[in-house]
Amino acid sequence: MNGPERLTPEHPDDRNPRSASLDLECAFVDDNVEAFVLRALDLSDQQRIALHLRWCERCRAVAGGYTPIPRMLAASAPLADGPSPAVRDRLMARVAGEMASTRAADTTATTPAAEAAPRKPTASRITLWQRRILPAATAILTIAILLVSAWGIGLQGEIEDLRAQTDQPVTFSGQPLASPRLFTTKPACSNCMGVAQLGADPGKSTAVLMAWGLDPNQTHEVWCMHENGESNRVAVLDVNADGDAMQTLTFGRPIAGYLEIRIVKQNDATPELIFSPKHDMEEASNDISAGSSSM
């Protein structure tokens, strides 16, 4: 493979003091972008670039320059006469059948007997979860993160480690960084029905994740992007039939250094839920500096 070759004359991050680590990912994109748009990379490399592109505008532009090619390859197929009329008939019959079964399900769902039937997550169901189950689950999660935080007491040492690893001054105005806290996701799209909380000591790399309202028919993954430019898949979520998941996650670095932690559908470019630990910590730090206490 040839060495990294810049496809654009100026890298937008060249003026960024942290560009060296970001450049590693950008150079990887430069080396593999042609294979990426053809989906010819091994899965891990394919996902590595896909995740990087979600954050890096410069590499999105580079890759975007190649995406017309697969589209043109698709359009280059010799034009055939078209499918037989029976295909359209089967399609429309299938759609009619699905609409009928949806209407029947909606009607049945209004009767008490429907309570036991399996359902997909809905807005009202999420509300129920949030009203009844979420408080109890949060209590469990709080206990869990207290256990996580009990794994290490060396508070000052943790702060020093964090300073060294993030390469950024850590100024949390006297508030103990090692205090466990709950991070809550924000939905990444208007259709994203899930909600999740991450319990963690921000100075540590272990966290407990609880999520509700995920689509049980989809495979969900947890991806993270560190402020140093690293992006990794952390785990595949074990989502139960009700769309809930709870598991311990181990990150490569302390939680506080992550710009984003995302829950994404494996087959979908759109993230479902996003944690922003670094932003949340900075906001909390600002609140503390301003005299309020949010931690």
Binding site: E34, V37, P70, R71, A77, D81, R88, A269
Partner: protein, 210 residues
């Protein structure tokens, strides 16, 4: 992106309210998201031929291609609400679904593992460079087809082959190297050179890499 018209009605009222063939794809997808089967039917009439041609190019037999066409349109019906959040043109999205289905079909036939999909690059980047009239539409209309074919012919066989094996057979670079009995590095280099040459050629021919 068009939104669902405010006065969605049903049945005959819809037929009177919308002149479906005159509506753009995005408006039809919005209607489809509101569970209007007439919108799907219109989109099918408009795009079934290119979807079938594309599927046939990959799987090789009409019966399988027809099954893929039906499945691709049905999935677009089911997922129409998600499309409205910005995924480029409908036909780009539809062909991406078709591509996945067709590649899975041939991998199944060859007893290769189904492809564990990552995000589709074309969809991931669709909002960057999807022109109003899509590349695919123009190709169907014939205005760009010759240009595209000429651009493909312009790159050496050794470079075009890995590109076509990746795209039309769903092979990874590693699988292509095994298939052709060439070192992996050679395949990577040929693919990169071929893609760059293809891009340059298309740009020179002004085939609209916008």
């Amino acid at each position: 992106m068009s939104t669902v018209p405010q006065s969605i009605t049903t049945g005959h009222e819809q037929d009177q309210a919308h002149r479906y063939p005159d509506l753009e794809d995005a408006a039809l997808v919005a209607l489809m998201a509101a569970q209007d089967p007439k919108a799907l039917e219109t989109l099918y009439e408009r795009h079934a031929r290119i979807v079938f041609s594309f599927a046939l190019r990959i799987v090789g037999d009409p019966a399988s291609a027809e099954e893929i066409v039906q499945e691709a349109f049905f999935r677009s019906w089911q997922q129409a609400t998600r499309f409205t959040e910005g995924r480029g043109t409908y036909v780009t999205w539809l062909l991406s679904i078709t591509h996945n289905l067709a590649i899975d079909e041939i991998r199944k036939r060859q007893r290769r593992p189904q492809r564990a999909d990552s995000a589709d690059p074309v969809l991931l980047l669709a909002n960057l460079n999807d022109p109003g009239l899509s590349v695919e539409d123009r190709a169907v209309q014939g205005s760009w087809r010759e240009e595209i074919e000429a651009a493909l012919r312009a790159i050496p066989d050794a470079q075009r082959e890995p590109i076509e094996l990746a795209y039309f057979s769903g092979l990874t670079q590693r699988e292509i190297a095994d298939h052709l009995g060439e070192p992996l590095g050679t395949i990577k280099t040929r693919m990169r050179l071929g893609m760059r040459k293809l891009r340059e050629t298309l740009e020179q021919r002004e085939v609209g890499l916008t």
